[in-house]
């Protein structure tokens, strides 16, 4: 640290330029959907007529390939939990998480570590409950609100796992989930 202090002492301090002004969309939910799907994410809208857990169970049963076991994050409230065969993260074919929120400008789901990381990462399909009121216009806004009570870790998920490391061809589901589905409720 003393060496760093000596090195920085050799020139005058430059000022911080302040905040980066980036535009805020008028309709954050629409902007989120556009950006998230643009990055390969999928969006479903929960049917308000159905109890959420039941809607989700039907939705999961409709997925191809067949969902055989779901991993549920502990912070998913009881009314959102589908009555389906549960499985540990490593063996489940879908993981169900609750988003803390989302950012429209980057199309990112904000997932705190309180929701069990294995559920967010190991199953091939990741289904994330996203209350529409929790979509922030900008990632900056979301991070600043989160900043006060940051958990040990936060994941920003903005689409499925992908790589173009082999032959410059994009493949999905390399390590993390190959499908990332935001359920707007």
């Amino acid at each position: 640290m003393a060496r760093v202090a000596r090195a920085t002492a050799s020139r005058p301090g430059l000022p911080h330029p302040g905040a980066l002004a980036t535009p805020r969309s008028d309709n954050a939910v629409d902007a989120f959907v556009k950006r998230f799907t643009g990055s390969g994410g999928e969006v479903a809208r929960a049917d308000p007529e159905l109890p959420p857990g039941e809607w989700l169970a039907r939705f999961l049963r409709g997925l191809e390939p067949q969902v055989t076991g779901v991993a549920l994050a502990p912070d998913v409230p009881p009314e959102l939990r589908p009555r389906l065969q549960e499985a540990a993260g490593a063996h489940a074919s879908a993981g169900i998480s609750l988003a803390w929120g989302a950012a429209a400008d980057t199309g990112s789901l904000v997932l705190p570590s309180t929701g069990t990381r294995a559920v967010q990462l190991l199953p091939p399909v990741h289904v994330v409950w996203l209350p529409a009121g929790r979509v922030f216009a900008r990632l900056d806004d979301a991070l600043l609100e989160l900043g006060a009570g940051l958990p040990a870790a936060v994941g920003l998920h903005s689409g499925p796992s992908k790589s173009a490391d082999i032959g410059r061809t994009v493949v999905t589901g390399v390590h993390g989930p190959g499908r990332c589905i935001a359920v707007l409720s």
Binding site: M1, R3, V4, A5, R6, A7, T8, R11, P12, G13, L14, P15, H16, P17, A19, L20, A21, T22, A73, P74, A103, D105, T106, G107, S108, S113, T114, G115, T116, R117, A118, L121, L122, R138, L139, D140, L143, L144, G147, L150, P151, A152, A153, G155, L156, S158, G159, P160, S161, K162, S163, A164, D165, I166, G167, T169, V171, V174, H175, G176
Partner: protein, 463 residues
């Protein structure tokens, strides 16, 4: 530090001559990256973003001691341990002692240039620890025992066919499998590695001083897994990676992704504050942040080179660089290749060690236009060239020739005379025998001087 930088001229020639597939693969990949960057920049007010990012980074670097102290305090408050490494050897020792302390038998790694810089894998392996590179490109190179050739796409110099052959041989995948099949084969091996690993080792794209947050950007999800599944997470981070506030992070996450691949943000971003503390969190029980100097304070103190520390490691300058495209990164002989390597390596390693990298550029300026933090790479190359000349690190023939040029060019009469003689010499092909032109002429037809110089035409009268 042993590097192969000095062999750049011969290695670059060999790659171009003997391994033309590298040039094809690298040119194709970098042009594709570069076009995506241009699209990514076009969607936002890129000039304003880049100026802002330059400003934040320069501010941070000129107050680096203060922000490092703040980051250390915050990380410790979050329950993470902070370690300081003055050089590569110290950094390796710190990681090795952490591995011993946590009884580590198996390590998964996320792509980290600093880990390459400090030569971490050989040290871990020598201690009998299993090491898995988990970035798909890095994993390919680990199987091949090769070094990364690009900051972002470490294996871009490999063709699909080369990976097919490798995976058929080493992972038993079907010959000629498509990229999807090949990726699944790697996923199977690495999924087990993730679940069994005791320690995850990553780099860090940013370290936010205000909150003690290590931020990591990726697309595959391997870094999310590396920072989440093993009992211990070690982040090896260069001391220049600081950002002052959480309010700075969003802009940098977006700008880095746009510069690197044109994406609005990486598919996955991990923000790591410390070890798991919530009862439902299955994350690591210990988080260590190793802050690596290894020449960075020398760069910081250097009159011109310090601006290279703004670098985000996005690879945009490599992608834009027509020199890099001909050979890929291996020719450069050190982990940081391409334009940024040519200005950073002399600072990190000493100019003598990094010769002739400052001369491995046509100064075309494409790198500076691409750089998200506006590092003035061409001007910095010129500064290194000036230092190289002052320290006598360039060939004496070259120095003598340029001194001669200046003597002649400041004496108009002599200049006119020399021009007339030069034209005659060129015309008779003698130039082929001259020291520097000889090599030039090996690959090119020698230019024919005009029959009469412009001066002669002018004197005669131009109609």
């Amino acid at each position: 530090m042993h590097t192969r930088i000095r062999d750049y001229p011969s290695r670059s020639s060999e790659i171009i001559r003997d391994d033309p597939g590298v040039r094809d693969a690298v040119t194709g990949a970098t042009i594709a990256f570069d076009q995506k960057r241009l699209q990514g920049y076009a969607e936002v007010d890129a000039d304003a973003w880049r100026r802002w990012a330059e400003g934040v980074k320069s501010h941070t670097l000129t107050h680096l001691d203060r922000y490092l102290a703040e980051a250390e305090t915050q990380l410790e408050a979050n329950g993470a341990e902070v370690h300081w490494a003055a050089d590569a050897a110290e950094a390796r020792e710190i990681v090795m002692s952490l591995a011993a302390r946590h009884s580590v038998k198996s390590v998964v790694k996320g792509k980290s240039m600093v880990a390459e810089e400090i030569d971490l894998n050989p040290a871990l392996e020598a201690a009998g620890i299993e090491v898995y590179e988990t970035d798909l490109g890095e994993y390919i190179l680990q199987l091949l025992e090769e070094e990364p050739s690009h900051i972002l796409g470490p294996a871009i110099h490999k063709s699909l066919q080369q990976v097919q052959e490798l995976f058929a041989d080493r992972l038993g995948s079907e010959p000629g499998g498509d990229p999807d099949t090949l990726a699944r084969a790697a996923r199977r091996v690495l999924r087990d590695a993730f679940i069994q690993a005791d320690m995850g080792i990553t780099g860090g794209n940013f370290l936010v001083a205000e909150t003690g947050t290590v931020a990591l950007i990726e697309n595959e999800g391997n870094i999310r897994l590396t920072t989440s599944l093993p009992r211990v997470h070690v982040a090896v981070v260069g001391i220049e990676k600081l950002l002052p506030r959480m309010a700075d992070l969003s802009g940098f996450l977006q700008l880095t992704a746009r510069a690197a691949t044109g994406q609005p943000i990486g598919c996955f971003v991990s923000l790591v504050q410390g070890p798991a503390s919530h009862p439902d969190d299955d994350g690591p029980e210990a988080v260590h942040v190793v802050l690596v100097d290894n020449g960075r304070t020398d760069v910081l103190a250097h009159e011109h080179a310090w601006e290279a520390l703004r670098c985000l490691r996005c690879g945009a300058c490599l992608n834009a660089c027509p020199v890099y495209r001909q050979t890929g990164g291996h020719a450069y002989g050190y982990v940081y290749s391409g334009p940024i390597g040519s200005v950073l390596d002399p600072g990190l390693l000493g100019l003598h060690e990094a010769m002739p990298l400052p001369f491995a550029s046509s100064l075309c300026g494409a790198c500076e236009d691409a750089c998200p933090v506006r590092i003035p790479i061409p001007e910095m190359l010129l500064e290194w060239r000036r230092e190289a000349q002052e320290e006598g690190l360039t060939p004496w023939k070259e120095r003598a020739a340029l001194k001669g040029l200046a003597s002649v060019a400041t004496r108009p009469g002599l200049y006119r005379l020399a021009g007339r003689i030069g034209s005659r010499l060129g015309a008779t092909g003698v130039a082929r025998g001259l020291p520097m032109l000889g090599e030039w002429a090996a690959d090119r037809a020698l230019p024919q001087p005009s029959r009469r110089t412009f001066r002669e035409l002018w004197r005669k009268g131009i109609e």
